[in-house]
Symmetry: C2
Amino acid sequence: MADPLSRVFSALADPTRRDIVARLAVADATVNELAAPYDVTVQAVSKHLKVLEDAGLVSRSREAQRRPVHLEAEVFDLMTKWIERYRRQAEERYRRLDDVLRAMPDDPPPLEGKPS
Amino acid sequence: MADPLSRVFSALADPTRRDIVARLAVADATVNELAAPYDVTVQAVSKHLKVLEDAGLVSRSREAQRRPVHLEAEVFDLMTKWIERYRRQAEERYRRLDDVLRAMPDDPPPLEGKPS
DNA sequence: ATCGTTGTCAACCGTTCGGTTGCGGAAGAA
DNA sequence: TTCTTCCGCAACCGAACGGTTGACAACGAT
């Protein structure tokens, strides 16, 4: 799964990882702090962080023996751009469909096939 | 994986499924039409559509023996709402950090610990 | 009544995923 | 130095995922 978009969507498909992102939006935190609220091992959370890091959503810097985790919010744009594109396209279709429906009663189009 | 947000993110984490969504944004299509460009079986595409349907991204109506697939774009809002929330929160943090940094040189704050 | 098309369901297979345990490295504290 | 804390890596396990093949239901066409 090489492509960045898949990695980001996939990373956020997990509730625990979304919660981690939510908490990092408030403040940076260490792995142990992040792991505290969940009833899983620290290693499991470390794995989650690796997934988020590979997706570019998070960065880990070095600070003595602590590894403070920081949210990189720019990657969100990747998703919003993709989503907005097709949302708009779908809305555009609705708009055009409305036009067609409005035009219909006055101008019944032939249902393809040679006219008699 | 019960929660809707996980289902939507997970559904879009696959490149084939994102491509299907992209094509459905242009026009409704049948399963065979959708499967044509990919070198997988029709059954595989049918499975992908089930995933998209469970996520609420797509609906399948009945029309003779055809099952036209239709994009339901409203579900996108679920994601954009979630993303925007934390993107804004992160930006807010940056803004406050800037304020702190601007105030720093003039007002070096004590580094927590009883003041002498 | 039979045939061809369209699509789903079920069973299976290899891979990935989320979790565990166990170990080891890096760095401050004693 | 030795101890303790924080954390990542490797190996393993069960569940879920993406794909296949095979069978079958539904419907239009002949």
